[in-house]
């Protein structure tokens, strides 16, 4: 791929280790394809840095820049020396036409984002706050790929109350109340660093019944 991409050298940018590529809350008009090096995505949650992912060559990031007037949702930092192709409105068609494999990759990424966004939307359509919190666990469970885990009905989630509040679109206090209700009903267990859903199938049935009442 490096050879083909060299034709687009004029759109290439280099970042030194530790350099910020873009910051959370900045307006985004560009997105990137990593040619070499690694990029770390970080989000600030209540003043604490949370590492979201480490991206490797050939991965695309910042693609949500297509959503006009939407600030970046995370900070991208170069882990080592990083070379990227920078896409913007002006060069988008040139780059995509000249490199259909990148266009296909972006297409698949958009598909994933559409499904993820729709799923999140489904969570938000639930009016019952307890069901909404429960549905966040179902949503997170659906993205898991660990087949070995699927043999049991209990699921562990390394999430914080802030994470759940974000996905459920609810204040942190309200999420905490609903989580305690689940604990009282013996549907979940909470430890310092994880939340365990005792029976994901029971939770699925519960959410389905709440959804039918809409």
């Amino acid at each position: 791929m490096a050879d083909i991409l060299s034709a687009f050298a004029r759109f290439a940018k280099t970042y030194e280790p530790g350099q910020v590529i873009f910051s959370e809350y900045e307006k985004g008009e560009t997105f990137y394809l990593i040619q070499s090096g690694q990029v770390q995505l970080v989000k600030i949650v209540n003043g604490i840095q949370k590492n979201l992912d480490i991206l490797a060559p050939s991965e695309i990031f910042g693609e949500m820049a297509i959503l006009e007037n939407t600030p970046r949702s995370a900070t991208a930092i170069a882990v080592d020396q990083v070379k990227v192709l920078e896409f913007n409105k002006a060069n988008f068609e040139t780059l995509m036409t000249g490199q259909p494999a990148i266009a296909m990759k972006l297409l698949k990424l958009f598909i994933k984002r559409i499904f993820a966004q729709k799923r999140r939307f489904m969570v938000l359509t639930l009016e019952d706050p307890q069901a909404r919190v429960g549905d966040v666990f179902l949503m997170l469970n659906e993205t898991r790929t660990d087949i070995a885990e699927q043999v049991t009905t209990s699921r562990e989630f390394a999430v914080t109350i802030d994470d759940i509040a974000h996905w459920a679109g609810m204040p942190k206090d309200a999420v905490q109340d609903e989580l305690y209700r689940f604990v009282d009903q013996r549907k979940i267990e909470m430890t310092n660093d994880k939340i365990i859903v005792r029976n994901i199938n029971d939770l699925q049935r519960y959410i389905a019944s709440r959804r039918r009442k809409l």
Binding site: I48, Q49, M96, R120, L124, A148, V151, E156
Partner: protein, 317 residues
């Protein structure tokens, strides 16, 4: 090569919820796509035009079908597998560009709907937000990122509410040494090949492993293993084992975990190591050895792990 298929009136091409690897293009006839509006739950019907692709998102994304597609009058459709579609589209970039446009519009629409449902509860002011990011990096000791973002704040919001503080952070460029260890939740960009904090490396490795990025995760666990005195040494060995097993490198996994079990037979992750040894031996075709490892693992496993072991012993994948 795509196949032309004829469908009779009233037949169903696919149902909502089906999972399959097929993409269609309507050549001739009338077909209707039916689904529920995600906001209201109301049924929606849309006619698919001749020459239009359908089933693309679910096939390429490996998601269940979101709609039921029904034939209203005898129709001919071309059927592609997703691989056939990809090679077709790669030689017809115009099609991908057109789909990118359609999908980016769909993404914008659903994003707008989501934001409106959230009633702006989490829409922080971008100016305050940007400064809070600079401040968080600063407090965590990642001065270069803090300075970089503070400079962005100064240039974007020269009269912003936090300008004085942003200038103070920006002025720190080069004056304060970066923190060397995590300490109070501090974040440092890890260097997987040199002296990074082993706890940090371990956490990053775990994050990558949870996303099944085995080859990348292993680099971080190896970074831990390079430190002979690390308290996470044997935990990292087991995590490396998961990576190797996930990559299908069962022999190396057996070799590594044999070492781990010899050096630390009573480690808290011993049951997991034995479980992995069982899986690897099973994959390597030694069923007897696999059973022995599973039985040993079962004798010391926590309930969740025990369930996984039992599944493996009962012939699960």
């Amino acid at each position: 090569m795509p196949k032309a298929i004829q469908y009779r009136k009233n037949s169903i091409i696919y149902f909502q919820g089906d999972i399959e690897d097929k993409i269609f293009i309507l050549q001739k006839g009338i077909i209707i796509s039916s689904y529920q509006d995600i906001e209201t739950g109301e049924p929606v019907q849309e006619r698919i035009g001749e020459g239009e692709f359908f089933g693309v998102k679910s096939a390429l994304g490996h998601f269940p079908r979101e709609e039921t597609v029904m034939v209203m009058s005898d129709a001919i459709v071309l059927l592609f597998t997703s691989m056939e579609f990809e090679s077709f589209a790669l030689s017809n970039t115009r099609i991908i560009l057109k789909m990118l446009k359609v999908f980016s519009n769909q993404l914008r629409k659903i994003h707008k709907q989501t934001v409106s449902l959230l009633h702006s509860t989490e829409q922080a002011n971008p100016s305050d937000g940007l400064f809070s990011v600079a401040e968080a990096f600063f407090k965590a000791g990642n001065i270069s990122a803090a300075v970089d973002i503070a400079n962005r704040y100064i240039s974007l919001y020269p009269t912003g509410a936090h300008i004085a503080k942003a200038k103070a952070i920006a002025a720190k460029a080069g004056s304060i040494p970066e923190k060397k260890s995590g300490g109070s939740g501090g974040f440092e960009v890890p260097d997987a090949t040199s002296g990074t904090d082993d706890k940090q490396s371990y956490i990053l490795g775990e994050q990558l492993l949870s996303r099944n990025k085995y080859s990348e995760a292993i680099v971080y666990f190896q970074n831990v293993l390079r430190r002979q005195d690390s308290t996470l040494r044997y935990d990292a060995m087991v995590q490396c084992g998961y990576c190797l097993c996930g990559e299908g490198n069962h022999s190396d996994c057996v070799q590594l975990l044999t070492r781990m079990l010899m050096e630390a037979p009573k480690h808290r992750k011993t049951a997991e190591a034995l479980y992995l040894m069982g899986i690897c031996n099973k994959q390597l075709g030694d069923a007897q050895k696999a059973t022995a490892f599973f039985q040993k693992a079962l004798s010391m496993a926590e309930p969740d792990l025990a369930a996984k072991i039992k599944k493996e012993m009962n012939g699960g994948a």
